[in-house]
């Protein structure tokens, strides 16, 4: 770099605007590496330093991170899909068809959303398998394991509620089969054991889930709101808790 350019660079990096955005330089020192993490909102859930074994792909399989990445992909593609989709029985299927045939890159968008969701289910299961195999749920991480179990369920529920939205035969009957289980809930389902006579098809726990006695337009709206707003919100909060606790419980588990 010649003198003229160096002067210009210094001028930019010393300007008030630059310094208001970037609080540290880019020199290769431990102090800067620490600041890089501490002063960045996206990185600060990390501690400044970690054990070397935590970098080992053979140990972590990177599955927790992949799960989070898949969640981010589904969030971004999901928001884009919401622009083109109306959760109304008359329109839902047509909107998905339009996504596939009319909207530029609509098919790719939908594919990415669906495959990222499937990928998330795979990676979250493998993440749990890894955490179990390494005994990482043991003291002091018992509570974080419990949070993880809830997040696993939330992943299934997110995927399941999203399954209905294309409103095709595949979606409709998969969700019908899945929600039929709720009929048989003991006490609260109208076909379950010990159900009181007042519990009927029109007021049991399955009715509350579907908003009707069969999967219908109100189910579509319910699942849409659960899928796009309610469950992702809960998932985000619990994920923040999960990541925070990983750090507060001493980083990811290791042999020492």
């Amino acid at each position: 770099m010649n003198e003229e350019h160096k002067g210009l660079k210094d001028k930019i990096t010393n300007s008030d605007i630059w310094k208001s955005i970037f609080r540290h330089g880019y020199e290769k020192t431990g102090r800067r590496y620490t600041l890089q993490v501490l002063q960045n909102v996206w990185l600060h859930l990390h501690p400044p330093r970690i054990s070397r074994h935590a970098l080992n792909f053979r140990f972590t399989w990177c599955m927790g991170g992949i799960t989070f990445l898949m969640f981010l992909v589904t969030a971004v593609t999901g928001v884009l899909l919401m622009f083109y989709y109306r959760p109304v029985a008359e329109y839902a299927f047509r909107d998905v068809q339009a996504l596939e045939f009319d909207i530029p890159f609509g098919m790719l968008l939908r594919n990415m959303h669906r495959w990222a969701a499937h990928g998330m289910v795979i990676s979250v299961m493998l993440h749990m398998f890894r955490v179990f195999l390494t005994g990482s749920y043991k003291k002091p991480r018992e509570f974080n394991w419990a949070v993880g179990v809830i997040l696993l369920l939330i992943t299934f529920f997110l995927s399941f509620t999203g399954y209905l939205l294309p409103w095709d035969q595949l979606a409709y009957w998969a969700v019908t089969v899945g929600t039929n289980m709720a009929r048989a809930t003991p006490v609260l389902g109208h076909e379950g054991p010990f159900a009181p006579p007042d519990i009927t098809q029109a007021n049991d726990v399955r009715f509350a889930l579907l908003g009707g006695t069969i999967v219908g337009p109100s189910t579509l709206l319910r699942f849409y709101i659960l899928h796009c707003i309610a469950v992702p919100l809960v998932a985000s909060l619990l994920m923040a808790l999960h990541f925070w606790r990983v750090r507060k419980d001493g980083g990811i588990s290791g042999p020492l």
């Binding site: 590496y33 890089q36 993490v37 990185l43 400044p48 330093r49 970690i50 054990s51 070397r52 074994h53 970098l55 080992n56 140990f59 399989w61 990177c62 991170g65 992949i66 990445l69 299927f93 939908r110 594919n111 990415m112 495959w115 990928g119 795979i122 299961m125 493998l126 398998f129 195999l133 390494t134 005994g135 990482s136 043991k138 003291k139 394991w145 419990a146 995927s159 399954y163 294309p166 409103w167 095709d168 035969q169 409709y172 009957w173 998969a174 089969v177 899945g178 039929n180 289980m181 009929r183 003991p186 389902g189 054991p193 010990f194 069969i214 999967v215 588990s253 290791g254 042999p255 020492l256």
Partner: protein
């Protein structure tokens, strides 16, 4: 054979195909590290205990991993289209009607248990059992590294539950269940008119019991006796076993109940497949 190809190439079944390779790969990977630990007595990563900066070392790993995964996802999304069948029609039930692939192990349980057990009680117990694991596993060893020798029981139970009762049943549900939820081998034609003789009888019937009241008490005795195996084992062994004393009675009761509940599924499967047993306990209120 065509049928198998059709199933394999179904876009929604790609994750299960992936699992067929991923699960053995990760079992092999963890087994290799566990064997090394067990042979040397030192966890394989014990030497890597110095600290490194998160930036750049961890962030670089995360970045590389994210790029690779996004590449895979990108190729997957370009190559394979998400399925879209014809518009939903409540009057037209497909045969078979399958839940999403990750629930097929639960749907498979419906063959062996009534919906209130297979669809509500057992999934509930799976959730409670998973959450309870850290509180009932008091073995302090094997924390933060792969090992088999130091915690064989915990590993055996979890691996059996995850690999056999979750993954394998999922694969069976996807590839072998056809019309009428009957088992079809990959080379068989999915015949919607396949006749399967319903020869299942209740366990009490096999024992020659014919009236309902006796059958009810018989079933109750079998189920209660089964779950009493846990406490009986405790009373038998608690004096001599230091492990049971450390575990304590409350933890033991929870462990044995969850363990026996989990084993009830393979037991019922064997009874059904080998002896055509329909129910073990038939009562006026529910059947098990």
């Amino acid at each position: 054979m065509d049928n198998l190809l059709l199933l394999i190439t179904k876009p929604d079944n790609v994750p299960i195909l992936a699992m067929l390779f991923l699960i053995p790969f990760f079992i092999w990977l963890s087994y290799k590290q566990a064997r090394q630990t067990d042979r040397t007595g030192v966890p394989s990563d014990a030497a890597l205990n110095d600290k490194v900066y998160v930036w750049p070392y961890l962030c670089r790993n995360e970045f590389i991993c994210a790029i690779i995964i996004m590449l895979i996802l990108g190729v997957w999304s370009i190559m394979i289209d998400a399925p879209l069948e014809e518009m939903s029609d409540p009057a037209k039930t497909p045969n078979p009607s399958k839940a999403p692939w990750y629930f097929l192990a639960l749907q498979e349980m419906l063959v062996y248990f009534d919906p209130w057990i297979a669809g509500v009680v057992l999934p509930g117990l799976i959730i409670v059992g998973l959450i309870a694991i850290p509180y009932i596993d008091i073995n302090p060893k094997g924390k933060g590294y792969y090992t088999i020798k130091e915690r064989p029981f915990a590993l055996a139970v979890f691996s059996f539950g995850f690999i056999i009762l979750w993954i394998v049943l999922m694969i069976v549900g996807t590839f072998l269940r056809g019309p009428g939820w009957n088992i079809f081998m990959p080379w068989e034609y999915w015949d919607p008119h396949k006749l399967v003789p319903l020869t299942n009888v209740n366990l009490s019937y096999l024992f020659g019991i014919r009236d309902d009241m006796t059958a009810n008490f018989f079933g109750f005795a079998i189920v209660a006796g089964y779950f009493a195996l846990g406490p009986i084992f405790y009373i038998w062994k608690c004096k001599s076993s230091k492990f049971l004393q450390e575990l304590g009675m409350i933890r033991y009761v929870i462990v044995s109940f969850l363990f026996l509940s989990m084993l009830s599924l393979p037991i019922k499967m064997i009874l059904r497949l080998a002896l055509n047993v329909k129910y073990i306990w038939v009562s006026p209120w529910f059947n098990i």
